[in-house]
Structure formats: structure tokens, C-alpha cells
């Protein structure tokens, strides 16, 4: 009798393991579909941390900024890395335009020529209050940038509250504004 139970247990062990693993995968897949799990997620380490040190030169038609100025803001600021050569940035301009009436947006022109950026902002109405240049992309690397466009929500005091490594959409904008209000 005892032998039979032991054998049964022994036999059920692989199946139990498979069932647990299968359940885990199922959970992962369903979370993937709902969008609250992304195995390719980049750049979570910078969340809830202070902004890195940087200084950006003026990008016409606006003025550049540095770490101190961003830290000293009394209201949240959305930092948006963009470039005139980036098509997703172009499609994002409409969303940024609408967003600019709810929150201050400061732009960082990533690996771009000042003239090209000025032309880009003239063609698509400028949503940025301030714009700095990151011509060689070194500031971007300090922020953990993996591409453009990418947005960071900075709270007063200079803490990174939220990060979105894709073009902003209506849904992501809602999430963003929930942090601000």
C-alpha cells in the first residue's frame, strides 16, 4: 500500500512540474496580451531615480536647459527626446500638441542638425517650451535612451516618475496625466 502511494507520487511529480510551468507560461502570455508584461522592456532602472547631470545648448527657436533648471521646476515636466529625421516622432507631434496644454513639454533634439530641427518645428507647430541639443547622443545614453521618440516624466525635485520608450498614444497619455493630476 505504502509502495503504491510512493510510486504514484513519483509518477505525478513530472506532470505536476509541467502543470506548474504551463500555468506560469499561461500567466505570462495573458499578461503580455494585456500589456502589463513586456520581456523586451528597456530602461526600468532609471525609474524613481534622480535625473542624470547634463547641459544642453540652445536649439532655436527655444532655449536649452540643464539638470539644475529641470530639478528646480515646481510642476511636473515631460522630457521628450525627438529628431527631425524620425518618422514616429512626426506622427507623435499631434499627441504632443494636445498634451502641451496640460503639462510643460521640454524637448531634446537627439543627433540632429539645428537647422533641420528648426525647419521641422516650423512645419509642425512647436509643442515644446524649451529645447536643447544633444548632437552626439551622449546625453541620451546617460538617460538610458534606446531610440527616439522617448518620453520621461520628471517630478519637481528631479525624480523620474514615468518612462515611455515609444511614441505617445492616447492610452499612454492617460497614464501619464494620471501621475500629474
Amino acid at each position: 500500500m505504502q509502495d503504491i502511494t510512493r510510486r504514484r507520487l513519483l509518477w505525478s511529480l513530472p506532470f505536476a512540474t509541467a502543470a506548474v510551468a504551463g500555468g506560469g507560461f499561461l500567466a505570462m502570455l495573458s499578461r503580455l496580451r494585456k500589456g502589463n508584461f513586456d520581456p523586451r522592456e528597456i530602461n526600468t532602472p532609471i525609474l524613481n531615480k534622480p535625473i542624470p547631470s547634463f547641459t544642453l545648448a540652445d536649439q532655436p527657436p527655444s532655449t536649452g536647459f540643464n539638470q539644475q533648471e529641470l530639478q528646480q521646476q515646481t510642476k511636473p515636466v515631460l522630457i521628450n527626446f525627438f529628431a527631425s529625421w524620425c518618422i514616429p516622432c512626426l506622427t507623435e507631434m499631434g499627441v504632443l500638441q494636445q498634451l502641451s496644454s496640460h503639462i510643460a513639454i521640454w524637448g531634446i533634439a537627439y543627433k540632429d542638425k539645428p537647422d533641420a530641427v528648426a525647419g521641422f518645428l516650423q512645419r509642425n507647430s512647436n509643442p515644446y517650451r524649451r529645447i536643447g541639443q544633444d548632437p552626439d547622443g551622449s546625453v541620451g545614453i546617460d538617460w538610458g535612451l534606446s531610440g527616439v521618440p522617448e518620453s520621461f516624466l520628471i517630478m519637481p525635485g528631479g525624480i523620474i516618475k514615468w518612462h515611455y520608450p515609444k511614441p505617445l498614444t492616447a492610452t499612454s497619455t492617460k497614464t501619464l496625466l494620471s501621475f500629474v493630476q
Binding site: R40, I42, N43, I46, G137, I141, G144, G147
Partner: protein, 153 residues
Amino acid sequence: MRFIAILFIFCISLSAPIIAFGIDSPDEMLANPQQEKRAENLGSQLRCLVCQNESIEDSSADLAKDLRKVVRQRIAAGDTDQQVMQWMVDHYGNFIRLNPPFTITTALLWFMPILALSIGLMVAFVTLRKRKNTVTAALSKEEQKRLNELMKD
């Protein structure tokens, strides 16, 4: 036939420079060959975040080039391999490591070989024991009797 062969070789030779390597120019490399070797070794363990299954050493994406530069700058400044790796993880998370560290989420991944081996051994053990039992099972009285009868003939 010959024409096709020539065309084929031509096409392959066209693609060769594309698959060859990521480093665009020798200017990128460090002057010290030992440091350069360390940089290449580190770079091959770092994921290019644009083309995600390539290392930054293999990729010719702009970001990969920038990250190669950072690795070399830090090595030239005297960082150890571990410090460079930590810098990368601090900026881009564990996802940048092509060799994932042991955490709760990667535990199953790391334990899988041991798990698979032990399950396999268990199944083999149980089956073998069962087979051994059937082979060595003694004949019943009737069977022995029948066998004896058969052997007489």
C-alpha cells in the same frame, strides 16, 4: 547553369560586407590591444537594444556604435570589466545583458537543465525497474508444470 552559379557567387559576395562585422572603422578601436580585447569581449555580452538579438559588437546600429564607444571610454578610464557591466545595467537594466543574471524571474531558466535531467532520470529509473521486475518474475506453479511438460517432448 554556369550563369546561375556566377550570379549566385555574385550575390553572396554582395552580402558579405553586410554580415561581416559591426565595427565601422578602425578608429573606434583602442590603441592598447589588451584593452581592445577586453572591450570586444564585453561588447559581445551586451545586447544591442535596436536589433535585439545582436550584440553591440556585431550590430552596426547607431546606438550600438555609441555603446561601443562608452565601453571603450570606460575601459580607457581604468574601469574593471565588472564596473563597465554594472554601468550598463544601471542605465539599461538587466535586459542589456545577453547572459541573464540569476533572479526570481530567470530561476526557471537556470534550473531547467537540472530539472529536465532529473525528470529524465526519474522516468528512466522507473521504467528500467519495471522492466527488470517483469523479466525476473518467477514462473507460477502452473507455468512451471506446463514448461516441464513441454520440455519432455
